[in-house]
Amino acid sequence: MDNDIFQGYKGEALELLKKYKVRVWGTVVAQTTRGTFEGTVLPRSENDDDKHIVVKIITGYNIGIDTRTITSMEETGYKKANYKIPEKEFPFTEGLPKVKLFGTGGTIASRLDYRTGAVIPAFSPGELYGAVPELADICNLETEKIFAVFSENMGPMQYMALAKAIGEEIEKGVDGIVIGHGTDTLHHTGAALTFMCQNLPVPVVLVGSQRSSDRPSSDAALNLMHAMKAAGQSDIAEVMVCMFGPTSDEYGLLHKGTRVRKMHSSYRSTFRTIGDTPLARINRQDIIPIKKTYNKRRNDKNVKILPYFSDKVTMLYYYPGMAPDTLDALVEKGYKGIIIVGTGLGHVNKELYPAIERAHAKGVHMYMTLQTLWGYVHMFVYDTGRDMMAKGIIPTGNMLPEVAWVKLSWILGQTDDPEEVKKMMLTSINDEITTREPYNGYLVYQGGVPEVEDFIKDVHK
């Protein structure tokens, strides 16, 4: 009960509210040694201190009153806020594709959470339609909340649940699937679903936003429109990530779930296809393919759902001077698969060799990926590489480290046989290893040089 009336307040502040019988959402006149303050008492974020009471003053601003300065308080009224995205029934339009939106949390649509002071997701077709009415021109939408977790809390259980849900929707005859997802681990989920949902007949599009939809400049609405269009109208039947191309509100990119990576902590255009080009460019009018070959949309329902995952796989990010016991510790704790993220062409120092040998002897599956992200593991170039292969480390071509972790986890969820594991790891399911790196695959521009500056000036960022 206390929680309801005094939302988030604790310690001194809570005592004071109780003493003067002032509730959260009560309008209050507070006498303090710094003068009189008037306004509506707001809930307080749990992590903030117990020395202040938050008040919304008449001009709409929030202020904090120091409890130590308060000499008296009086509640003069009560006005509880009703925060609700206007809900309108999502209209059905004959002839538009049927798209299913799975909610997993994330910031596609969100509202304020007073408990943490952060934003929490809000989600229903009605709410989405209220916030982004343009969606009704793109598709007929159904939504289903599968979980409400933040991106960093998405994990194996969620991957498997999603894969099964996708299978069921395809069985029901949906034209495309969109998954709303926090952006931090969007690419992990992209890889997991690529392996778990094979031979897809319809697009499965993962989408998020880098700026929560509670701000006017959010990328959420446009990302959502692009994702719905890709799911409902594109003929690319793959697991894709759909996010901003440039940081401008201009177009989105469709990335393969196995080649995409979040590359900036806060930019809107954070997702990039690594070592290849994206599948397509998308705006509100068109979907413009970039890659010539991809899996095409089909009318059958012959999807293969393979929801397997072992939680005994880990990653080891190598650094110079790494001691062998770091690897031993992982093996001792029972890890069966280790993705090593090596330097350069795929290297670790010699001190690790004995540990590698011990791990190999215990049957641990070890695969080499790259800190450089771009390029291929080449373990034949230097002796160290050859040594390591001899000791049981298998190079994974140009598979991204996170993708290799997902794939090995998925494989070890099915088999433990080293040869079978190796065969599966190195057999590409959907371009997680490509045989060729195009000249425009590697792109990290260097600011400051004239041609890049010209490009940045001429083309909207």
Binding site: K56, S217, H264
Partner: protein, 645 residues
């Protein structure tokens, strides 16, 4: 007989009682119920911006940029779950916002690709000092709030802002003005252009620390508003911690008349424009109330009042002035005769209110309409008759014709209808853009408290008592106390503005205390002679007033009287690096003792009296003073010399 709109305009102007400002008295304003308050913005003098580490105060030309990016703004809910009116209006305008970025003064924060860094504590401290000077109740904890701006002036779509104090007071010479609050906020972008559906901004000013002082609507006439605004700016300047120069201080002026609404005149750059703007605004509102009364005489059900429209592209498409227009729409306004040509401001009528809204909301560039009471005759009478017939117009109706792109017409028709419906209710709350001639035009719908949202990216900042106490110790004296001191010294009113706006009071005190110059002399010297010389002589840099201290110190130490200072000023301004001795040489100053000067008297007396029968003593004295003046200045005080002649 068609409606005589010209005489309607002049008759309505009389009915409103509009008089030029120099003919208006307090009675005029009292009869209109003049009410006004201020929101005074002042940039703080800091090295860096408020929420990132970009340098503050580095500006660029419009076309000097390294990159451009584009955003569209969507309205979002406020903390209390409401959509804001402005937000919805801006969304309807469907603007594409282009930002120009220069690497020197903008980073990924400005364009909302990086969350805010912790607030600039230097800026916060300066703003708190001004809050204390403004006698505000200082908050216990600063909460960064997001204030929505969908016009694109801030790429995030909101301004990060925080209240530092509430309920303060400002003492003017003749009354006290109550202050609502003072906030610290990030400055917005500067607009480069706004044409059709594209608005272009540059991001150099964006994010610079700014404070906003908000007063209650306590001002009762236009001159008082200016006076109050000047005092707030003087107070800010008195800390020496604010920026000066073009655009560093700007104000929004809120005005209403009795029965009217709060209208905000935005971004007034000079306080001298305030009187004319507020004068005209109060009359504009008075006009709108009369229009409402007039319309309601014939319109019984204002809630049901609607327009009807038709396309007249086929009819009017061959008109040479409308040839290029994709669509032309005629709109009938039932029972609106006399409203469109009703006087609102000098050289503006009610129809102009509609036209400007069409430009802002429907994004149709002017000229975007004509109407049945237009002085210009774009459409001849026979065509009007056809149009009225097609619209099914009745006697007493009036018509508006709008044109533009097909895709803008829906919003255009809504905009016309909406503005006319508002006329039935009185004065719409809105923000208006000002012009130097004292008139204003519609800018945006006035946003309300519904556009506020806590900034989930920033933690609250506690302000401990000990910190506030420490800050209070270093505050300058109140402007009003300085004002009273000047009065006491007998300093003439006309130099006050210069002294306060340049924050010269501390310098004056120092000169008086250290050198012993007479107070009224220093004040007049700075507020009159220096001001004059600055306006007439050009130096390589802005004149540094501290030089005046050195100058008086030098004269005192050299035993030269202060009167020479005035003669030295032009050289001092033009050649600030020249030493005082060289300046004296270059103005041909020579040292004489009093005796040497007085020794010339007998010769001069003789010369004046030469051949005259009668000699007027006064005339002679003046003549002799004139002859000796040049050599006396600096050597002997003229008043002293005068006694000896």
């Amino acid at each position: 007989m068609s409606f005589d709109s010209r005489s309607n305009y002049s008759n309505s102007k009389k009915k409103v009682g509009y008089v030029p400002r120099n003919e208006a008295t307090q009675e005029t304003y009292d009869s209109l119920g003049f009410m006004s308050g201020l929101e005074v913005h002042q940039q703080l003098l800091t090295n860096e911006k408020l929420f990132c580490h970009c340098p503050a105060g580095i500006f660029h030309q419009h076309d000097d940029y390294d990159a451009e990016l584009i955003r569209h703004m969507r309205p979002t809910l406020s903390e209390l779950g409401e959509y804001d009116g402005t937000a919805l209006m801006e969304f309807r305008t469907k603007k594409e916002i282009v930002y120009r970025i220069n690497n020197e003064n903008a980073c990924t924060y400005e364009v909302d690709d990086t969350p805010p860094f912790p607030i600039n504590m230097d800026a916060l401290e300066k703003a708190l000092e001004i809050s204390l000077l403004s006698k505000l109740n200082i908050v216990g904890e600063v909460h960064i709030t997001r204030k929505q701006y969908l016009d694109g002036s801030i790429p995030t779509g909101f301004q990060r802002t925080a209240i530092l104090g509430v309920e303060g007071e400002l003492e003017l010479p003749n009354k006290k003005i109550r202050l609502i609050q003072l906030s610290i906020e990030e400055d917005s972008c500067r607009e480069i252009s706004d044409i059709g559906h594209t608005r272009v901004y540059k991001t150099d000013r964006l994010g610079m620390p700014l404070i906003e002082t908000v007063t209650y609507p306590d001002f009762v006439n236009p001159d008082e508003v200016k006076e109050g605004c000047d005092y707030i700016r003087f107070l800010n300047r008195s800390t020496d911690k604010v920026r000066t120069g073009m655009g560093a201080g700007r104000q929004d002026v809120n005005v209403s008349c009795r029965g009217g609404s709060r209208v905000e005149i935005k971004g007034v750059a000079h306080t001298k424009w305030i009187p004319e703007l507020t004068h005209n605004e109060v009359f504009r509102q008075w006009s709108l109330l009369q229009i409402k009364d007039m319309l309601l005489e014939s319109i019984d059900q204002p809630k049901d009042w609607k327009v009807n429209h038709i396309s007249i592209k086929d009819l009017m498409g061959s008109n040479p002035q409308l040839l290029e227009k994709e669509e032309i729409i005629a709109i009938n306004l039932p029972k609106f005769e006399g409203a469109l040509s009703y006087f609102t401001q000098p050289n503006q009528m009610f129809a102009d209110e509609i036209s400007t809204r069409l430009k802002v909301i429907a994004c149709i560039e002017k000229p975007n309409m004509t109407h049945s009471e237009d002085f210009r005759t774009l459409i001849n009478e026979a065509q009007w008759d056809d149009i009225k017939e097609l619209l099914g117009a009745k006697e007493g109706d009036s018509q508006v014709i709008v044109w533009g792109d097909m895709s803008d017409m829906k919003t255009a028709i809504e905009t016309v209808e909406e503005r006319c419906q508002m006329a039935l209710e009185g004065v719409p709350v809105e923000t208006r853009k000002s012009f130097e001639d004292g008139t204003t035009i519609f800018e945006r719908v006035l946003p309300g408290a519904d556009r506020m949202y806590p900034d989930t990216d920033s933690a609250p900042i506690p302000l401990e008592d000990s910190y506030i106490t420490e800050l209070s110790k270093g505050l300058p004296t109140d402007v009003i106390d300085n004002y009273k001191q000047l009065k006491e010294w007998g300093v003439s009113d006309e130099v006050y503005t210069y002294i306060f706006s340049k924050n010269l009071f501390p310098l004056i005190q120092k000169i008086i205390a250290d050198i012993g110059v007479k107070p009224s002399y220093v004040c007049t010297f700075l507020g009159h002679e220096v001001k004059f010389a600055e306006g007439h002589y050009k130096g390589p840099e802005k004149f540094n007033h501290e030089k005046v201290y050195d100058l008086f110190r030098y004269l005192k130490d050299s035993g030269i009287t202060f009167e020479i200072a005035e003669k030295m000023l032009p050289e001092l301004i033009e050649h600030p690096k020249m030493d005082f001795e060289s300046i004296l040489t270059s103005i041909n100053f020579r040292k004489y003792t009093k005796e040497e000067i007085l020794s010339k008297l007998p010769l001069l007396y003789d010369k004046f009296a030469d051949g005259k029968k009668e000699v007027s003593k006064v005339k002679m004295k003046n003549w002799v003073m004139g002859k000796l003046r040049n050599i006396a200045i600096g050597n002997i005080e003229l008043s002293e010399l005068s006694k000896d002649i």
